[in-house]
């Protein structure tokens, strides 16, 4: 483990919230490239542990490994998150198309989505991400850190890939 990777790990360990790549560069005095390499090193190193290195864009945070979820939840007394199929559909559109407007989600789902947006905002699974430069300047929505945590993802690249369409069941 390089000295820089150790320092980055230590900083991320004490951090109470995600730390940006820029902040890590500033703190360590290392070049952005070196910090990237250190983060890559940490990411690989975490694989065999109860921790994972997660990132949302350029923000980084140490999280617990999804395999340990049951035990950590038992320790924290955390409740399991439940979402209705409707909320999951809205969340799926926002997650895969982000940033997305409410109107876009409604166009795809074909129904009014006020209630599901409210639920997802309340649970902090989605958040506002500025406004689209279009008539009416509609609000853009994207997923949050809570979303990544809730679904045990270390980054948005890990979103489950569903490329094939649901096949009609073939029964004889």
């Amino acid at each position: 483990m390089t000295p820089l990777a150790r320092s980055v790990q230590a900083v991320l360990f004490v951090a109470e919230k995600p730390v940006s790549r820029g902040e890590l560069v500033r703190i360590t005095g290392a070049t952005p490239r070196a910090v990237d390499a250190a983060l890559g090193e940490l990411e690989a190193l975490c694989e065999d542990t109860g921790l994972r290195l997660a990132h949302d864009g350029q923000d980084w945070q140490i999280m617990t490994s999804p395999d340990a979820a049951a035990y950590v939840a038992a320790y924290l007394g955390a409740d399991r998150v439940r979402l209705s199929p409707a909320a999951l559909e809205t969340l799926a559109v926002v997650a895969y198309r982000q940033p997305a407007t409410r109107a876009e989600v409604e166009a795809i789902r074909g129904v009014n989505c006020d209630q599901t947006f409210y639920t997802l905002m309340q649970r902090r699974l989605i958040e506002e991400r500025g406004r689209r430069d279009a008539p009416g300047r509609p609000i853009l929505y994207g997923t949050t850190w809570e979303f990544l945590e809730c679904f045990g993802l270390t980054s948005l690249d890990e979103l489950p890939r569903v490329l094939t369409l649901p096949e009609p069941e073939m029964t004889a």
């Binding site: 919230k17 994972r52 649901p166």
Partner: protein, 234 residues
């Protein structure tokens, strides 16, 4: 919104495609018009705004069916792109993909394999200005105090304060000033040194007021002064 197990008009259409075990990419959507209308008719008590979204899809299906039955029919000027079978199919395919993704997310959620991060507040910072020489000075002070004759301390008539009285005082103060500093409340008379007894009574009075939701407490930084604020009445 879920109506009889459907999430909306596209979901109902998708369910018909799946029931008929036909390929979403090749099925003639016009053939689904009758089945769709039958299902919409069977849905009872739909709110008005939802009825319209179901009917909008129904009208497109009927139009698509009409065009397939009468291929010579020329599209009228008012019909736009969104009325074509290709457009509706594209929407249906996109919706099917979203539904697949939603199911995949739901599966992950059910599995419960989530992540947690470390919650804040676990790092204990030393008091500001705390260094070893300050510690030594404090200890020396304690020793000096301990060396003083005890008698005079014991006979000194301590002022007595009651929590009820102090609570009432603070309530009066907070009614006059919207916000007060905890440090100033600790002192009985401005300029005088704080005494332990008075500080304790004040502290308990504040906790009691906070419990009764009569005040708000704010502290900007660790070991900083606390602002006692009158609670805005809802």
């Amino acid at each position: 919104m879920a109506v009889d197990g459907f999430e909306g008009p596209l979901d109902l259409l998708l369910e018909l495609v799946e029931e008929k075990k036909v390929d979403i990419l090749t099925v003639r959507l016009g053939e689904l018009a009758d089945g769709y209308l039958a299902r919409v008719r069977a849905l009872d008590q739909l709110p008005a705004d939802e009825v319209s979204s179901f009917l909008s899809v129904a009208s497109r299906l009927v139009l698509i069916k009409a065009r397939s039955l009468l291929p010579a029919l020329e599209p009228s000027a008012v019909e736009d792109e969104s009325e074509t079978e290709a457009d509706l199919r594209a929407r249906l395919v996109e919706y099917a993909a979203v539904k697949g993704r939603a199911t995949a997310l739901g599966d992950r959620l059910r599995l419960g394999e989530r992540a947690f991060h470390r919650e804040g507040g676990t790092v204990e910072l030393p008091p500001r200005g705390g260094d070893t020489s300050a510690l030594a000075a404090a200890w020396t002070k304690v020793l000096t105090l301990a060396a003083r004759p005890r008698d005079e301390e014991l006979v000194a008539p301590g002022d007595r304060y009651s929590v009820e009285q102090r609570t009432a005082e603070i309530e009066t103060l907070i009614a006059q000033h919207e916000a007060l500093s905890f440090a100033t409340l600790l002192v009985r008379v401005p300029g005088e040194r704080a005494t332990l007894g008075f500080a304790i009574v004040t502290f308990i009075a504040l906790l009691d007021l906070y419990r009764r939701a009569a005040i708000d407490l704010e502290q900007d930084e660790l070991f900083g002064d606390i602002t006692v604020r009158r609670k805005a009445r809802a």
